[in-house]
Symmetry: C2
Subunit: 238 residues, 2 copies
């Protein structure tokens, strides 16, 4: 039967058993939103790698390289971590090697932990993802990437949006305090998510880097219908 | 100048610099509520110890021993972890050696970290504690004990109540996502905190152990005026 647990930071992951669970990795601003966008835009796959060096090695095998640290694109790479860089045919049919400050590390961390599926979470495919998880009817772990291991608002709000939607559609019991908090926090913020997030630390960080359009894009709900999950070590349409 | 940060779990403590800060340890159900009550009831001090064995050693030095694990009093000790055990003169003038599942470990963990003060947080002395912290006008770290390293609702709600009160009284800026979340969560719950907490994991745990009176007592706001903080390794009235 479906159940919902929320992990608020990578540092807390060891407290939750992810074995045989559908784990949704959440890095709303921007890694998992960008991965969902890349797959929607026809990319064959996105491989999450830990270091820029690993991404560069994959360039030799024909991958597009994408690298971000502290919100900024790294020099010498094809792309940074903006969903807009995946548009207008830029990634169609391509494989992407992506390394980011938070999100890709979480995909990598959970990929060998015996999860049933490792999925990419974003507001962009919120509705489809909730339906997919409900249909699969297994334990769901919503894994917030946070910012450098710290709790953040935007990932928690998405956990609350997705957890709340599943709860609403199935009536499943929720016995995890972090899930209960996330759902209530999303209820506080949902009327105007963008305004609510203006006080968040990462929103301020990205605004300083002039990523306002990315922020606006990543908060759109259910405009993408593809589900993105790990298959043979790479994030693909599943 | 005063600022507010919230640590949601002991596992996240290393991400926050507590040096020269006023650290409020929060274990609402029940360790820090019980410590505040013991001091209010005239106890000379409460020493937080890690193990039941350490508490028993202190018995030889005249301490009252108090020990709780998983919500239950341990056999062979004078007290468990209920605030009611401190009433009716039971602890007046006495020193108490207390070991609990969560809260006392946090006091012990933070006691050698270079904090300016280590204080015991509870709804019972919410108003006085906010005034004391505002008067001292230093960085405030609200440190939630959680449950066995996991996030919990009741400690986060108190962090939100205290953080919100300080913010409201001083207009201080808040640049910590966990503090922003805690304050908003408390705003959701404050109308009827007891009903809100009925869905929490630890409330259910304590209810099963028939501690309903403790729960009700620990959620009372500002009925105690003493401030309890670490002096020479023991929690005392300061």
């Amino acid at each position: 039967m479906i159940s919902i647990e929320v992990v608020l930071s990578p540092v807390l992951l060891h407290l939750t058993d992810v074995t045989d669970s559908n784990v949704v990795v959440i890095d709303i601003l921007r890694a998992t939103s960008t991965i969902c966008t890349a797959i929607h835009e026809g990319a064959e796959s996105v491989i999450a790698v830990k270091t820029p060096e690993e991404a560069l090695e994959l360039k030799l095998k024909g991958y597009i390289t994408a690298a971000e640290r502290d919100g900024a694109k790294l020099e010498g790479f094809d792309m940074g971590n903006s969903p807009f860089e995946c548009m207008n045919g830029a990634v169609k049919g391509k494989r992407i090697a992506l390394t980011t400050t938070n999100g890709t590390k979480c995909i990598e961390a959970v990929s060998h932990a015996g999860a049933r599926n490792v999925l990419s979470g974003s507001f962009l495919n919120l509705e489809s993802l909730s339906d997919w998880l409900i249909n699969d009817n297994q334990r769901v772990v919503l894994f917030c990437a946070g910012w450098k291991d710290s709790f953040n608002l935007e990932d928690t709000l998405f956990a609350g949006a997705l957890g709340g939607l599943i709860h609403q559609k199935t009536g499943c019991l929720i016995d995890c305090d972090a899930a209960l908090m996330s759902i209530d926090l999303y209820e506080c913020a949902r009327v105007d998510l963008a305004s609510y997030l203006k006080k968040s630390s990462h929103y301020k960080r990205l605004s300083h880097l002039h990523h306002e359009e990315d922020l606006k894009y990543c908060l759109q709900h259910s405009v993408i219908h593809e589900i993105t999950g790990l298959r043979d070590g790479e994030m693909k349409k599943i």
